[in-house]
Amino acid sequence: MRPVRACRGGKRRSAMRRQPREQQQSGRVLPGAVGALCRALPSRARPAPDTLRRARFDRPQASLDFWRLLYALLKQIHGGKWAESDAIGNQIRFVKSTLWYHGYGRPELYRLPSDGSAGSRELLLAFSWLLHRLSLLEQLLARNRVKTGDEASVCTCEDDLPNSQKGPTEIAPEYGPEDRVDVRYLQWLNGRLRFQWRSLHAQHQEQCKLLYKIHLFTSGSHMDKTLGHFSVTETDLIRQPGNYKQLLQLLESETMQLEAFLEWKQREPVYWQWMETVLDNMAEEGNPCESQDAHVERSGLPEVTSCCPWADSLTEHIGRLSRDLMTLRDQLQKLVMHRKAAWCEKVKTRKEELQKEGFPATARKIQESVELKLQDLTCLCAPRKNRAHGSCRLVLRSEHPVSKSGWGRSVSQEPVPAASAAEVIRELQMREASLGRELKQLREECRQRLDQIAEGLDGVICVSP
C-alpha cells in the first residue's frame, strides 16, 4: 500500500504523464473500489460514493457532508456518543482537534472555514490519511462487531504518562485564599469514589459468577466443538426467541460490511493511485500560497490546540521528558561511578566480617532481599513482551479452569493466540505485588516528610495512621 505523503514542498510530478493510464484503468475499476470502501464503513457513517467523487474536484457542496462523515467516524473511534444535532461548528472543531491529536500535519486543513463551506478536497485527503494511518476500517469493524456477551477486557500494560513528577510550580493552587476548598469536602468526594469502586467490584464479581454458571450449564451443547458452550447472546436468544430477527439483521449487516471490506482490500491500489493524482494536483496549485502563509500557520495552530487540551499537555510532557532524560543520564553515570567505588569498599569489609560470623543465614537473607529488588528491576527493564491488551472472549475449558481465545483490538493479521486465564492472573498478581511495594515505599517517604515538617512546628505531635 503506498503511503500518502504529506505535501510540504513535495516534489512536482508531471501530472500529464499519468492521465492516459489513469483514464484507462480507473474508468473501470475506481468506482468499484470507492463503492466497496463506502459499503465497508459502518451504516451510520456511510457516505455515498458520489461524495468522494465530488470532493476530488473540490466541489463546495460536498464539504459539509464530508465534515459530518469525518465527525461520525472519529467519534466512533474515540468511543464517544454523538448527536447529529451537534452544531456544525462544534463538529468541525472536534474533527480538527482529533486530527491534530493523531498527528495530521497539513496546515491547509486547519485553516478551513468553520461553517463547512469549502475544502472538500482537503477533507478527502484527510480521510484517506486516516484510512491508512489509523487503519480506520479495521478499527471500525472491530468495534462494531455483534457482541457475544462473553467479552472481558484485559490490560497488562504498564501505566503510561506518570504524572507524579510535576514540578513545584504546578502544584501551586489556582484558588485564592477565599476560594479554598474545604479538605473535608475532598475527603467526602474521595470516600464516595471509594464506595462506588467497591460497588463496581461487586458487580464485576457477580457478572463473573453468572457467566460461569451460564457456561457451565450450557457446556456440551454448542455445535462448534472448540467452544463447547453457549455465549450470553446465544443463551439470551434461547430465552427470548422473539429477538432473533434483530440479531439476524445485525449479523447480516456485519457480514455485508465484511464482504465489502474484502472487496476493498483487493481493489485498494487503484484508490491510492487516484489519491496520488489528487495530491499532485494540489501540489501544483498549492505551492505559491505556501511561503506567505508560513507565519500565519504558526498563529493558526495554537487556536487548534486550545480546543485539544490533551495534545497540548502531551507535547509539553514530551519536551520535559526528553530534558529529564538527558539530565538523568548524566546523573546516573556519576552515581554509578560513586556507587561502584563505595561498593567495592563495602564488599571488602563485609567479606572480612562474614568470615568471622556464621555465613549461611546471612547469605540467605541477602539473597532474598536482592531477589526482591531484582524482581522489580527486571519487570521494569524487561523488553516489552506481548502485553495482552484489548478485549477477549472467555471460553470455559474442562481441562484448565478457564482459557481465552482472543482477537484484540489492535490490528494484527492473525488473531492473538489463546492465553490461559491463569497466566494472565499470575501476571496481574505480580504487577499488583510490585505496585504494593511501590506504595509502601511512597508511604514511608511521605511519613518521613511529615515527621520532618512536624519537627519544625512547635507543640504539634504528628500521629501517623
Binding site: 475527603q187 470516600g191 464516595r192 471509594r194 464506595f195 460497588s199 467490584h201 461487586a202 464479581q205 457477580e206
Partner: protein, 397 residues
C-alpha cells in the same frame, strides 16, 4: 444482591431474629396497593436479599449466629423454625459453653482469636452462597461482653477477609441507667474499634425505643421482645428493597452501597441515626389515615428537633454551639438540638410516593437525598479523641 447478617451476643441474636421475622411478614403480607407484578418483584428482591432457597420448603436466612452461651442461640433457632415461614441454617451458628461475663477484653482478646477461624469459616460459607455479596450487617449491643468485645473483633476480621465489602454495624446503645456496671467502658471501647474497621455505625438507643414503646405503641408491660420488635420494624423499613435515586423501575441492587455512598463517604463521620414514622401498634393501623404532607412535616420536625418520636418534641430550637465541650465519661450525653446531620437520606414507602413534594428539592423519586455540611456532628467523635489514650491502656488487658 444479598446481605449476610452476623448476629452477635444475646442482644444481637434476639434482634436479628425479629428482623427476619419482620421481613418475612412483610413479604407475605398482602395489602393490595401495588400491581401484582410489582408485588412479585418486591418479594423476589426481598427474598434474595435476606434469604436463600434451599431444598427445604422454607427459605433459609442468610445469617451467622454467634454467642458464647448456648441458651440464646438455641432459643432463637427454635423460635424461627417454629414460625413456619423461615428458618436459620442449622449449621450457621457458633457457640461455646461459657459466657463472657460482660468483660470486653474477654470477648476481644480471649474469645476472639481463639474462635476466629471457626466463625470466619461460617461467614465465608454464607458469603459464597450469595450470587452477589452486598455486604455485611452485624448486630450487637455495646454493653455486654460478647456482643461488644467479640463483635469488635469479628468486625475487624470481616474487614481483613473482605476488604472490598460494605460493613454496616448496628449497635444498641445501653440504657442510661443500665444494667451493666461497666457498660460505659464497653461502649467506648467497642465504638473506637468499630470505627476503624466498619463503614458505618447505625445506633439504636434503648432509652428511646423504650419511650416509643411506652408512648406511641401503648404497651403497658414493655418486654425486651417489644423493644426488639420496634427496632426490627425500623430496620426493616431501611433495608427492604426500594428504588434507586436514578429512578425507578427496578429495585436497588446495591442497598448497602447506595446507603453508604450517600451518607458516610467521609472516613471520620460514620455514625448514623434512624428516624421512622409512623410508629404505632398493628391494631390501630386500620383506624388511622395518613397523608404524605402530614407525615413529612412530622419527619422534618423530628429531624430539626433531633427527636426520635413524633410526640413530645422539644421545641427549643437552638443553633449548634460553635465550640465543643469535652463531655463527661458518660457517653450518652448529646446536647445538640439542631439538625446537624451531615447528610440525610429519605426512604419513602407506600402509595403515591411519586407526588410527594419534599420541599427543598422536587424530585419524584423514591429515594431522595440532600446533603448539608453540618458545622459539627455528634459530640461523640470529640469524645473519642479525648478518650483514646484511656482506651489504649484498656486494650492491654
Amino acid at each position: 444482591m444479598s446481605i449476610v447478617t452476623v448476629q452477635l451476643g444475646q442482644c444481637g441474636n434476639q434482634i436479628g431474629q425479629e428482623v427476619f421475622n419482620a421481613v418475612c411478614a412483610d413479604v407475605r403480607g398482602t395489602h393490595g396497593l401495588c400491581s401484582k407484578k410489582e408485588n412479585e418483584s418486591y418479594r423476589d428482591a426481598c427474598k434474595e436479599r435476606f434469604f436463600r432457597e434451599e431444598e427445604s420448603e422454607v427459605p433459609v436466612a442468610r445469617a451467622v449466629l454467634v454467642d458464647m452461651e448456648p441458651k440464646v442461640i438455641s432459643q432463637t433457632l427454635s423460635i424461627a423454625a417454629r414460625s413456619g415461614c423461615w428458618k436459620y441454617d442449622d449449621r450457621s451458628h457458633f457457640c461455646q459453653k461459657q459466657g463472657s461475663g460482660n468483660n470486653w477484653a474477654n470477648g476481644y482478646s480471649v474469645h476472639g482469636p481463639r474462635h476466629k477461624e471457626a466463625i470466619m469459616n461460617l461467614v465465608q460459607k454464607e458469603a459464597e452462597k450469595c450470587d452477589r455479596l452486598g455486604g455485611f450487617f452485624t448486630i450487637m449491643s455495646m454493653a455486654g461482653g460478647t456482643g461488644s468485645g467479640l463483635g469488635a473483633f469479628v468486625t475487624r476480621c470481616l474487614r481483613d477477609a473482605f476488604p472490598t465489602s460494605f460493613i454496616l454495624n448496628h449497635v444498641i446503645w445501653p440504657y442510661g441507667t443500665g444494667e451493666v456496671i461497666v457498660q460505659n467502658y464497653n461502649s467506648v471501647l467497642t465504638l473506637s474499634h468499630l470505627y476503624q474497621s466498619s463503614d458505618a455505625l447505625l445506633v439504636h438507643e434503648n432509652d428511646v425505643i423504650h419511650k416509643i414503646c411506652a408512648q406511641l405503641m401503648n404497651i403497658k408491660q414493655i418486654s425486651f421482645r417489644d423493644v426488639n420488635q420496634v427496632i426490627a420494624h425500623q430496620l426493616g423499613s431501611v433495608f427492604q428493597p426500594s428504588y434507586t435515586a436514578e429512578g425507578g423501575s427496578r429495585y436497588s441492587r446495591n442497598p448497602l452501597g447506595d446507603l453508604m455512598e450517600t451518607l458516610v463517604p467521609h472516613p471520620e463521620f460514620k455514625m448514623l441515626g434512624l428516624r421512622n414514622i409512623p410508629q404505632m401498634p398493628e391494631n390501630s393501623l386500620a383506624y388511622s389515615t395518613f397523608s404524605w404532607p402530614g407525615l413529612l412535616k412530622h419527619l422534618r420536625q423530628m429531624l430539626i428537633a433531633n427527636a426520635q418520636m413524633e410526640e413530645g418534641i422539644d421545641w427549643q430550637v437552638r443553633p449548634p454551639r460553635p465550640g465543643f465541650s469535652i463531655p463527661s465519661s458518660h457517653p450518652t450525653n448529646k446536647p445538640l438540638h439542631f439538625n446537624t446531620s451531615i447528610a440525610n437520606l429519605v426512604i419513602l414507602r407506600g402509595k403515591d410516593t411519586h407526588s410527594v413534594d419534599l420541599g427543598k428539592k422536587e424530585k419524584h423519586t423514591y429515594i431522595h437525598q440532600y446533603t448539608k455540611f453540618g458545622i459539627e456532628e455528634e459530640d461523640f467523635l470529640d469524645s473519642f479523641t479525648a478518650l483514646e489514650q484511656v482506651i489504649s491502656s484498656y486494650t492491654l488487658l
